[in-house]
Amino acid sequence: MQSILIVEDSATMRSLLASSLEELESAVKIVEAESGFEALRILPRESFDLIVTDINMPDINGLELVSFIRRNEKYADIPLVIVSTEGSDRDREKGLRLGADAYMVKPFDPEMLRQVVLDLLAGRHEER
């Protein structure tokens, strides 16, 4: 079973992201982290096929998390989706340049999120 990590500090938003992804055709396992720090703690313990992260979070921001993941050999290949309220073009550009695979602005369309996630999960599969 493929496994997805959701990093988001708002409980409601986290729950929404999780329930959107639980409706994927193929069953996925969803792990939730309520902060960047928690994500850092969880990452070494499990292997993930995809990560969805928010940008504005209290401890470390999503860009910092993306940067960390891309510079760590162990996680560098994991597809990353940023879902953020931050509509700023610069942040979007930064996110993508740091190595995020997709950037979605809240409020997100669950179907679109599922499409993006499915494509990324499949794309990774083909590469191997």
């Binding site: 720090f37 703690r41 504005n56 910092e64 960390f68 510079r71 760590n72 942040d91 930064k94 740091l98």
Partner: protein, 729 residues
Amino acid sequence: MAAEKSNRKSQGSDAKAEKTKAKENHEFVTEAEEILERMFEDLSDLQEQRNGAGEINPDLVNQIFRSAHTLKGLAGMFGLDTIGHLAHRFEDILDGLRLGRISFNSPAALLLDEGLALLAILMTQLEHGDGSDAQAAQAFIEQIDAAIDASAPQRTDELDALDIDSSLLRALTEYEEHRLRESIHRGRNIGLVDSVFEISAFEEGLSELSSAVREVGEVVSTLPSPGDAPESEIRFSLLVATDIDAGELRERLDYPDTIVQSVWNVSGAAGSTSATVDDAMPVDPNGSAGEAPLVVDGSDGASSEESTDADSLASSLSWSNPGGASELESLRSISETVRVDIRKLDELMNLVGDLVIQRNAISGLATRLATDSQTAKIGAELAKTSKNLDRKLKELQSRVLDVRMVPLRQIFEKLSRVNRRLRRDLGKEIELEFSGADTELDKLIVEQLVDPLVHIVRNSLDHAIESAEERLAAGKPEAGRIRINAVQRGNHIVIEVEDDGRGMDVEAIRVRAIENGMISEDEALTRGELLNLAFEAGLSTRDEVSSISGRGVGMDIVRSNLAEMGGMVELASTEGRGTTVTITLPITLAIIQALIVRTGTERFAIPINSVLETMAVEPDEIGRSEGREVLNLRGEPLLLRRLGEEFEIEGASPEERQFAVVLGMGEQRLGLLVDRLEGQRDAVIKPIKGPIQSIRGISGATELGDHGAILVIDVSAIVGDAVRRWEAA
């Protein structure tokens, strides 16, 4: 007033619409006025800060931004486009200021005051029903647009001058970038603090480091990086803006594995002198700052108290005297202990739990393979391997458990100290006797047990034990006596605190409880029920609040503290003779072996240490005695109870062959009849969360790895109830 004016202007059929409109405008103005007032105030504060030498408070800018945003929304709701557009431009300017795209001295920023004045005029016109001056507003909006363009970033990129790895800059949000630029503008020094932490427990150390930084400056950004050993370590780079120089910062952040570099100082030189603070230091700041550090003893004999002291001595030496490495060496060789954060052990325990669940799955597979004739051979081999794995896992489990277990002696020593001190203060002579000091309990439980136990003993010392004169008059020895006894019973520890004091006055409790409205006057309560009222909040039988036990922690807190750990507390007291408080606690919150049984559609887990044996029982083997079902077990009658009846389970099949699970609790025996036995599993008992706090006969639930919960049977309750009913009959 507004209504009058609009009436005068209105004519014919438009009158009504005009009137509504005026009313709406009035509504808008009332609300908008408040916002405008706040903006005036904030803007004048901003003006002051801009003129003064001080720094502009970013929160103030954010606040004006929010006001403009609210005003825009409000205007939109009332369909007031001109005001809406103007507020929107305001928002643009403030957003630019907030993110540093526009400077405070730029033409656009200077238009803020004028714009606000225009907004005020537009609103007065609206209130008075005069046609608003849309043209003036439009002209002004154009002026703002031009100014914003002119104010566009004259960005001399300060950030390029910083001596920082670009990966750090790339991960800054736009707002953080701005804070960084702003700090440079303000003549602050920018430092980079690099520190490496254990990945499993980085948060505490990091938050300690961050708060140390916040005492002297601002943490602009916290960037995690893989450590040199990415599996176990994580590095954090903190970008810090501060007024103190790098040398001073370095002194303040004197932590192990921490490097402070200057990436920008006021003179402009980006020095990269770095100093490592004694990399070889053995003491982990996480450990020394952590809660409830646990001492894991490598040499079996040494008392753990001693080694704690040796360790903290070592750490204090190393912190105050970084050069004293040789002293450190010698201390290290004496004590072969490692301080471990108990949370690390929790993680280890969880991992073991996960492994156990995986092993359950493997043995399930082995059984399936073994039943198919084609794969029987592989199945048998797999079963054998699984058994070996099982043995090793059990060993691992008990070793990890061992590490968590500490003797009660630690608490007893603490109680002795409390007694010595109180003896002086109270002028009472009291002997404290202990037994069972070697009884071991989970470290976490011991930690949480200290306060309730100290409280119970204090209560006895303070209230229960009489003065020497009173005691002599009552024919008791002059010195009071408190005996504390700990014994292990199965998976539980029982701790009794017994005093020979005056005992509890049950009548006084009743009177007090009636006064407090806890019971009614004619309520008939047994002696035990009355005694246990002492655990309810707001009941104390002594009026005075003494400095000794009147510390705000009543017996009600004692009870709830113990209940949190899955324990219970009971009182027994004989007036004039003394009181006994009995605490019952689980030894550990960890894994037990459970027998899984099925009746009808439902499964239950029974802790295996209460199961004496199991057997198949044919319907005709079941006899009756005194109205109850019994089984002849090797010549002795065994009382039977059907699980299906006990829990009213549908679909139980009593007319078929059943299995008897023979349960033993002390001297009592009970045969529990179930439909099927489904094997043994390791189970982690968890409390059931929700509105129904406790269910007679159920002690908790466990997960079986397949998403479902399965209830764990409380053997002592089931056996006790059945035997009591039998004896009563």
